[in-house]
C-alpha cells in the first residue's frame, strides 16, 4: 500500500494504491489522517475513539469518496483522527465499518472536503488498485 502527495495549485492531490480494494480504503484514511496532522497515522498511538459507519454508493469510486467524507465529518465533530478500519461488511457499493481513532487538540490542516474530482478507481499495470483523491483545502 502506498500514498503519494502530488502537486496541485491550491488543494492536496493524493494518489493511493493497494493490493486489494478494501485495503485502498484503509490507505485512504491513513493518507487523510496524515494530512490532518503530519504523519499522525504513522505513529503507534493507542486509539481512544471507535465509531461505526455505513455507506452505500453507486460504484466503488463513489463509495471510497463517500467513506472518506464520512470519516472526515466525524473527525471534525469528534475532534479525532481515524487511522484504522475494520470492515464488518464490504462490497463494491456498500460498506459497514468500524473506524478507530485518537482524540486530538486541533489539526495541522483544515480539509474542507474530499472531492470526486479525478477520483477513479482502476487496476494499474502492477495489478494493484489505484485512484487519485483531491482534497479541498
Amino acid at each position: 500500500m502506498k500514498v503519494e502527495y502530488l502537486p496541485h495549485t491550491a488543494d492536496i492531490r493524493m494518489r493511493i494504491t493497494a493490493a486489494h480494494l478494501q485495503e485502498l480504503f484503509h490507505v485512504g484514511i491513513i493518507g487523510m489522517g496524515n494530512i490532518l496532522k503530519e504523519n499522525f497515522c504513522l505513529q503507534d498511538y493507542p486509539f481512544d475513539q471507535k465509531l461505526k459507519i455505513e455507506i452505500t454508493a453507486s460504484d466503488p469510486t463513489c463509495l471510497l469518496i463517500d467513506f472518506l467524507s464520512e470519516v472526515l465529518s466525524v473527525s471534525c465533530t469528534e475532534k479525532g483522527i481515524f487511522c484504522k478500519v475494520i470492515f464488518i461488511e464490504f462490497t463494491p457499493i456498500k460498506t459497514i465499518a468500524e473506524i478507530y481513532g485518537k482524540h486530538v487538540f486541533g489539526f495541522d490542516e483544515e480539509i474542507k472536503a474530499v472531492t470526486y474530482h479525478e477520483a477513479d478507481i482502476f487496476k494499474n499495470n502492477d495489478g494493484h488498485w489505484e485512484t487519485m483523491v483531491v482534497f479541498d483545502i
Binding site: 491550491a10 492536496i12 463513489c62 467524507s69 472536503a113 472531492t115 470526486y116 474530482h117 479541498d136
Partner: protein
C-alpha cells in the same frame, strides 16, 4: 484534453475566447478576462480545461467565464462564473464550492496610520487573542438546536439581535446579510453539529483578519462615498461558513450525483454534478445553500464584534468603533437578471471565487453608495496590497456583474513551503512594518506572497477592462491567521 494558445481567440485586449466549436459538449464559449501576460500564466495549470468543462453545463447562457485571478480547482476553476437559465437550468454545488459564502468585509476606522504606529504589534496580538482561529478550533459561542435554526434563517440579523453586532451594519452587506430562501430543515444534523461551536471563528488556510492603511486613493469621489481616505486604518475579514457549509456542500454533492441521471444531465467531471434548479433536489440544495450563506454572514458579523472588542481594548472605549464599509460573498449562487444576447433573462449566477460587482443605481445598495456603485473588495496576498474597487455597468454587460476575488494562487502549498522559510519571512515582513500573528509557521509559508499572482496586475486588468473602477489601495500593517 490540452488547450493551446492557438485554440484561444483574442476578442479584446482583455477578453480571450475558446469558441464553442472547440469541443462538441460545449454549449457556450469559454471566456477568460485577462491581460495577455496573465493569460500566459493562467495556461500554466488546468484552469482552462476546467472552464471548458463548465461550458458544457445544461442551461448555461452567454459564456462560461473566468476572472484574471483564476486558478485550478477541483471541478470548477476558482475564479469562475457560470450563469444558467432560470428556472430549469442547472444548479451545481461545485459551482459554489465547499466553503459556501466564503467572503470578505472591510471595516473602517477614524484613526490614521500615525495614530496606531506604536500600537500595531499590540493590536495584532489583541486581535489574535479575541478572534479564534486555526484548524478545528471552536469559538466562544455554543448554539442550541433552536439557536442554530435561527442563525440559518436570519443570518447576520441573529448576531445583531443577540448583541454581537450593529443594526446599521445590515445595509452594508450583500443581500443585507440574509438570504430569504434559507430552510434550516434541509440542513443535515451532521452539518449543524459541525457548526455548533464555530461562529465567530476564521478557521485556517487563506482565511485571515488584516489591519491595513490606505496608501493611495485613486477616485476621491467614490472613496468619499465609501468613507475612505488616505492613511486611514481599516480592518479586513476573510472567512466563510466553516464546517457547516463544507458539510452541506458534501451532503448535496453526493445526493445530486445520484439524482443527476434522472434528469438526463451529463457532466464531464463528477464535481460539476448538477440538477435542474426547479427540481426537488435543486431546490433543496439551494435552500440549504442559502442557510449556509446566512451562517457565514452571521460568522463575519460576530468576528467584527470580536475585532471591535480588540479595537476598544487597545485604543480605549472613547475611540469611535469600527464601521462596516461592505461585506461581499465570493462563493455563492444568486438569482439575478442580466442581458443575454441583448435580451433580459433571469439567471442562476454561480460565482466560485468571484465577487459581485454591480454598478451605480443597483437598488439593494445603501443610499450613500447608490450613485457610485457597489464596493468590490479584493484582498491581496499576505504582505502585499489589497484594493477597493467600485462596480460598473460594464461588469453587467461582460461578466454577469462579476469581478475577481483576490490575487489568485499560482504555487501549490507544497511548493510554497519548500521555497519559503516562514520565520525569515515573518521577520522580513516585520521589518517592512507588517506584523504577522499566526498559529503555525506552516500557515505563514503556505500563504507567502510568492504563492500568489501579482495582485497589481490582476486589479489593473479589472480596471482596464472597465468592469470595476479602482478606488483605493490598502497596505497591511497586521495580519492574523490560523
Amino acid at each position: 484534453m490540452k488547450i493551446h494558445k492557438t485554440d484561444i481567440n483574442k476578442v479584446t485586449d482583455y477578453i480571450w475566447e475558446i469558441p464553442k466549436s472547440f469541443r462538441p459538449a460545449m454549449r457556450v464559449p469559454a471566456r477568460v478576462l485577462a491581460s495577455e501576460p496573465l493569460l500566459d500564466d493562467i495556461m500554466g495549470d488546468r484552469s482552462l480545461v476546467q472552464l471548458v468543462n463548465v461550458a458544457s453545463l445544461p442551461g448555461i447562457k452567454g459564456a462560461a467565464l473566468v476572472m484574471p485571478d483564476v486558478h485550478e480547482g477541483y471541478g470548477f476553476p476558482i475564479g469562475g462564473v457560470a450563469a444558467t437559465i432560470f428556472p430549469d437550468g442547472a444548479i451545481s454545488p461545485g459551482g459554489i464550492g465547499y466553503d459556501i459564502n466564503c467572503g470578505v468585509r472591510l471595516l473602517t476606522s477614524n484613526l490614521k496610520r500615525d495614530h496606531i504606529k506604536d500600537k500595531t504589534e499590540a493590536l495584532s496580538k489583541e486581535m489574535y487573542a479575541q478572534i479564534p482561529s486555526g484548524m478545528g478550533k471552536g469559538g466562544q459561542i455554543r448554539l442550541s438546536e433552536q439557536e442554530m435554526d435561527q442563525v440559518l434563517l436570519k443570518g447576520a440579523e441573529w448576531a445583531i439581535e443577540k448583541g454581537y453586532g450593529k443594526k446599521e451594519d445590515l445595509a452594508y452587506m450583500e443581500s443585507n446579510g440574509r438570504l430569504q430562501d434559507a430552510d434550516p430543515s434541509l440542513v443535515s444534523a451532521m452539518a449543524k453539529k459541525r457548526g455548533t461551536d464555530q461562529l465567530g471563528t476564521i478557521g485556517s488556510g487563506n482565511h485571515f483578519v488584516e489591519v491595513d492603511y490606505i496608501e493611495e486613493v485613486y477616485d476621491e469621489t467614490i472613496a468619499k462615498a465609501y468613507g475612505l481616505c488616505k492613511d486611514q486604518i481599516v480592518v479586513m475579514i476573510h472567512t466563510g461558513s466553516r464546517g457547516l457549509g463544507h458539510q452541506i456542500a458534501t451532503d448535496y454533492t453526493k445526493q445530486i450525483i445520484t439524482a443527476m441521471p434522472r434528469y438526463g444531465m451529463q457532466v464531464p467531471d463528477r464535481e460539476l454534478a448538477c440538477v435542474p434548479f426547479n427540481s426537488i433536489e435543486g431546490q433543496n440544495y439551494f435552500k440549504a445553500m442559502c442557510a449556509a450563506a446566512n451562517y457565514a454572514w452571521c460568522n463575519r458579523e460576530i468576528i467584527s464584534w470580536e475585532a471591535r472588542k480588540a479595537w476598544a481594548n487597545i485604543f480605549g472605549a472613547k475611540v469611535e468603533p469600527l464601521k462596516l464599509m461592505y461585506d461581499l460573498a465570493h462563493n455563492i449562487a444568486k438569482i439575478e437578471t442580466h442581458l443575454v444576447h441583448g435580451e433580459k433573462a433571469q439567471l442562476i449566477v454561480h460565482r466560485k471565487g468571484a465577487t459581485r460587482a454591480f454598478g451605480p443605481g443597483f437598488k439593494e445598495l445603501p443610499q450613500d453608495y447608490k450613485a457610485v456603485g457597489q464596493p468590490v473588495i479584493i484582498p491581496g496576498s499576505m504582505g502585499t496590497f489589497s484594493f477597493v474597487l467600485a462596480g460598473t455597468p460594464i461588469s453587467e454587460e461582460l461578466t454577469f456583474g462579476s469581478c475577481c476575488h483576490g490575487a489568485g494562487r499560482r504555487l501549490s502549498r507544497t511548493a510554497a513551503k519548500k521555497q519559503v522559510n516562514a520565520p525569515v519571512l515573518q521577520e522580513k515582513l516585520k521589518e517592512k512594518g507588517i506584523f504577522v500573528t499566526a498559529g503555525s509557521y506552516k500557515g505563514i509559508a503556505e500563504e507567502a506572497p510568492i504563492a500568489y499572482k501579482d495582485v497589481n496586475m490582476v486589479v489593473q486588468t479589472i480596471s482596464d477592462s472597465g468592469i470595476a473602477k479602482k478606488v483605493a489601495k490598502l497596505r497591511p500593517v497586521a495580519v492574523i491567521k490560523g
